[in-house]
Amino acid sequence: MQYKSLAIEDPSELIFGVAPRPVTTLSGMVIGGGTVYPELNFTLPPMRIDASTMAEVRRNYEQIIADALRRAAELDAPGVVIEFETLPPMTEYPAWGLDIVKILLEGMKQEADRSGLQSVLRMTPNDNREFERPPLMRRGRYWNAMLELFEGSAAAGAELLSIESVGGKELHDEALLNGDLAGSLFSLCILGERDMRFLWRSLQEIADRHGVKCAGDTACGFGNTAMVLAEQRMIPRVFAAVVRAITAVRSLVAYECGAVGPGKDCGYENPILKAITGFPMAMEGKSSACAHLSPMGNLAAACCDTWSNESVQNIKLLGGMAPTCYMEQLIYDCRLMNIASSHGKESALQLQRWMVESDEMLDPQAFILSPRSCVNLAKVIVSSDSYYHAGVAVARRAVELLHGAYSQGKLRIEPNEVIWFDNMRDALDELPASEAEFIAQQLARADRTRFLPKEYDLEV
């Protein structure tokens, strides 16, 4: 573990708009330097993507970027982060993805020339490696295409590189459905950690070659899958909240490999990472209900440095095209946070307290991601001597925090979830002390038709 201490030890310092290690973009935006910026993400309406539809695809993105940025300028946005999260065919065929990158960069330049609006492009190719089952994690056409798109995008001027990487996911979905904490730990802290290290070293090489920044990863396919499954009452919310705490161990690896933020928006574990690294973080909450529901729409903004909508389809709403409408919503959310900050620290903290209090008691996921809990969990992670031990320790602390709050009447837990405190404690108690023993145990259990141990440097 590279980080041995916290960049932010006081929960009151873990607040929106301010990061100890801000990121300055080429256009002059200082993310984490006192201003919260809107971060817009968008996707296509229901349509096929292939060579025959690419003209229509391009038209969609041209219209999205022109309209959304014009609205941002009209509303005096202090700057904008545009995230281009590709759709799978655009990563599989990098030329298609690069076409769109160029369209977006051109749209951003035109608006800058017209109105002076500052903006920066975050490029997020898909991690298509899981198209192959079991996935090849370090080679093959999906790996090559993904890196080609990163390389081309960085060369074209996409300044922030991100991804929702999937290493370990091939076993994690099943762990979630089985309520299997050991399986989750294996996926996140053994497989995920190894894959992240390999992947992010490669991405850092690309970033260095082109003078751009690695921004950060997210455990979206892990923690958000758990959160959404819990929202759908498929798995217990307390279990999903504990999984969220563990995801921070995995996502941290990107920063150990050189990422500097802003962390990717759908990484709800980002406040824990901000406390550890001091880098700015993107977050999403109520304004991302267009993409998925969450139990922490206000609280999620408590320590954001960019505020995102996750993704919205380019469809017509009464107010205009959806990305433009969401740009407006994000800008107003950011205005409120920025005006609170402009009135001084106490005003900012007051707004943050309201954000936190509105959600914290109502859901375990929200409780675990309050600034106070995040600093607590972050301390546990940096005190650990390995990723496995960090995962076990942070899971145990999360269970303690949740159960403690529930026992004191500070957290609402459904009656059929209470038994899961014991279930999770028992599961953690049964884990081997040594990482080697744990890996051997999990390898003996894991479904080999789903994953290839060698892709993670694991010997069978």
């Binding site: 349509m47 309520g179 009452r233």
Partner: protein, 211 residues
């Protein structure tokens, strides 16, 4: 409330170590394999499915019951084969081409199995031709299609069309985050399920219509 048969209760409780012995006891007592399946095991899973549908339990608890059912079936299987007992219905299921999401699809497959439907799961990123091939090979009465991306909804439409164009007599049920009842109707699907919990009822309704 009437007491349930000990085997049914063992399935509900997820007691996988007890279930095989209880199956053997039933067989030793002269109960037919078909009756054990139909009157002891399936009702247990139906109760579990019902509890899940009413948010009393979660998927992990349902899977514990499913594992007990699996252990019970290991003992019962030879007798079922000998007696020529087969599940009444077969279904093919998969995530359409271009889409990798499979949690919802896997849950539906599991719930269908619990309702004594034989499920052939083709996995993810399945081209229309592969669905057609499997339907011709396995002659199921039900096809389940899943998609999670707005950009793979056209692949769902194409798959339904290809199956229809192939003249295959099969009920098609669709689902996934961006899928709506209106979209299902528009592309010519027979059924739609908004979530895994209601997928069994929707399937049973469709299968009844085919009977």
């Amino acid at each position: 409330m009437t007491d349930l048969h000990p085997l049914t209760q063992a399935i509900i409780d997820g007691r996988r170590k007890d279930a095989p012995g209880l199956v053997q006891q039933c067989l030793d007592a002269g109960e037919s394999a078909g009756s054990i399946l139909e009157n002891r095991l399936v009702p247990g899973m139906m109760i579990v499915g019902d509890r899940f549908k009413h948010n009393e339990i979660f998927v992990p608890e349902m899977l514990i019951a499913a594992r007990a059912m699996k252990e019970a079936l290991k003992v019962l299987e030879p007798s079922l084969v000998a007696a020529g007992v087969k599940p009444e219905h077969t279904a093919v299921i998969g995530t359409v081409e271009g889409d990798l999401h499979d949690i919802g699809k896997n849950l539906v497959a599991m719930m269908w199995k619990g309702a004594n439907i034989e499920v052939i799961d083709l996995g993810v990123n399945v081209p229309a031709a592969r669905f057609i091939e499997s339907i011709k090979e396995n002659r199921p009465k039900l096809l389940g299609l899943s998609a999670l991306l707005t950009t793979t909804m056209p692949a769902m439409r194409d798959t339904v069309k290809a199956v229809r164009d192939a003249g295959l007599a099969i009920k098609i049920m669709v689902g996934g985050a961006p899928i709506t009842r209106e979209f299902a109707r528009e592309i010519g699907a027979d059924g739609y399920s908004p979530d895994a919990g209601s997928a069994v009822d929707a399937a049973v309704e469709l299968l009844k219509a085919t009977a």
